[in-house]
Amino acid sequence: MFLSYAFSDLLGSIVKGFGVIFVVLNIVPGLIYLERKICAYIQGRVGPNRVGPAGLLQPIADAIKLLFKEEIIPRNADRFLYLMGPVLAFLVPAAALAFIPFGPRVDTGSGEIDLRICGVDPGLLMLLAVTSLGVYGIALGGWASNSKFALMGAIRASAQMISYAVAAELALVAIVASTGTADLQKIVAGQIAPLKLGGVDNTILPNWGIFHQPIAFVIFLCAMFAENNRLPFDLPEAEPELGAGYHAEYSGLKFAMFMLGEYVAMITMSALCVTIFFGGWSGPGATSTLVTGWGPAILGMVYFLAKVVLVLLFYMWVRWTLPRFRYDQLMRLGWKMLVPVGLANLFITGVLISL
């Protein structure tokens, strides 16, 4: 029943899937460029500016370099798992994107198109289920390399991602409780109307999740960084301690796949964050869940992309601001602060709903 529902429009899903992957794969080089530029600017440097105008072709040069590098597989590595690691690291976050609505439903005249690849009711739960598989790519890659540093990175990554998934999910459960649905498209639809401040209508602030669940937002934000192994929680990669962590033994294109996977995971988490807390694809001019014609739909997609890019910029900004946590600090923050605060938030939400 689930499959027949999800893939009733198989051709449409395939087309949308190719579209999303196309956009994501084209954003990633831009992100790598932005990452380097922002890093440089924050550190008082200029950053890449030699390849192409303003260094814009730098990611292409990087990719070509990685393409021509020697592919080294360590002698005692488990070859199959070693090759599966980078594949999973990219595939899992990319698959999770299938549940994100990137636009409203469009009435084309001959039928409705829902602008998400896999339109299931418990989309949020499915997304969490798929993203939690993301640890496999890292864990397998680190273990199969047969290197102690890679293994340490992989162990850290597993522990960290599992711990913070709990906190993230507690934050999201509060959202599900307050919106009454786990369907991401409906969560977006609930955020379109203007925000009511104490019974007073205002015309500026939209009804975004961040205004309803600010504590959940802070918890989710922390967990988001930890899930993606980004600074200040990039212990799995911790360069000074572990070399490069779980991908220490990878070279060439397989390393590029890990890199790609990291950025795709960032995009997925940013997209989820935007969908839940920042109104998804909605915005001025894109305020209807069922539109006729492609104009408002494209506007909605542009809004969505712009919001996602803003969250990604915040990722980078934070990365080049904060130092790395110590491992025990990381665990303490996760289990002793975020999880209890998340539970309390859930409790308060429940009380407020039942009132």
Binding site: R45, W317, W320
Partner: protein
């Protein structure tokens, strides 16, 4: 009898004195840090984009960095007098002072119409690869005929090009041919 060690006690749980709740929540400090990096994002950058620019360019950016210190000891010049002749009288003091033995001078009698001196260098060569840029030659010179200038990079493709002859030294870094070095 000593207290039994409490293995389960987490030392980091003890609140450090003077740490308020705001401190322990990290959030104000994080906001402060983000503000700091945002400020630096928009500040002028310290990078001098060599080779388009060098630290000797007189633009504002290079001055702000202050690397182009006039007292930096880089490549030498031979100073010209007001008639455009070299000031050097081939006394060989710089050659004697040089600890790296990189200066090679062959004196010759000055032309008879040069009434102010008896000798001048026929050959004046400095091997820039041997030179340690100590500045002793400059100190030894009684006529202010040799100076070290802040110029430091002149790329060459062969070692022989790094031996500067008299002509090249006279034409090197002409900006530093000023009558007097800036005195501190």
């Amino acid at each position: 009898m000593s207290q039994p060690h409490d293995a389960h006690k987490d030392e980091d749980d003890e609140v450090a004195p003077g740490k308020s709740l705001a401190d322990r929540m990290y959030l104000p400090a994080i906001a402060q840090g983000l503000g700091k990096t945002l400020k630096h994002f928009f500040q002028p950058k310290a990078t001098v984009e060599y080779p388009e620019k060098t630290i000797y360019d007189k633009d504002e950016q290079s001055r702000a960095i202050g690397h182009a210190n006039p007292r930096y000891r880089g490549e030498h010049i031979l100073v010209k007098d007001d008639q455009g002749r070299e000031k050097c009288v081939a006394c060989l003091l710089c050659m004697a002072a040089c600890p790296a033995l990189c200066i090679h001078i062959e004196p010759e009698p000055a032309p008879s119409e040069w009434t102010d001196r008896e000798r001048r260098p026929k050959v004046f060569e400095i091997d820039m690869l041997r030179c340690i840029y100590c500045g002793y030659c400059e100190e030894a010179c009684p006529c202010d005929a040799i100076r070290l200038t802040p110029k430091m990079y002149t790329p060459t493709v062969s070692r022989t090009e790094r031996v500067y002859d008299k002509k090249r030294l006279l034409e090197n870094n002409p900006e530093w041919q000023r009558p007097q070095r800036p005195k501190k």
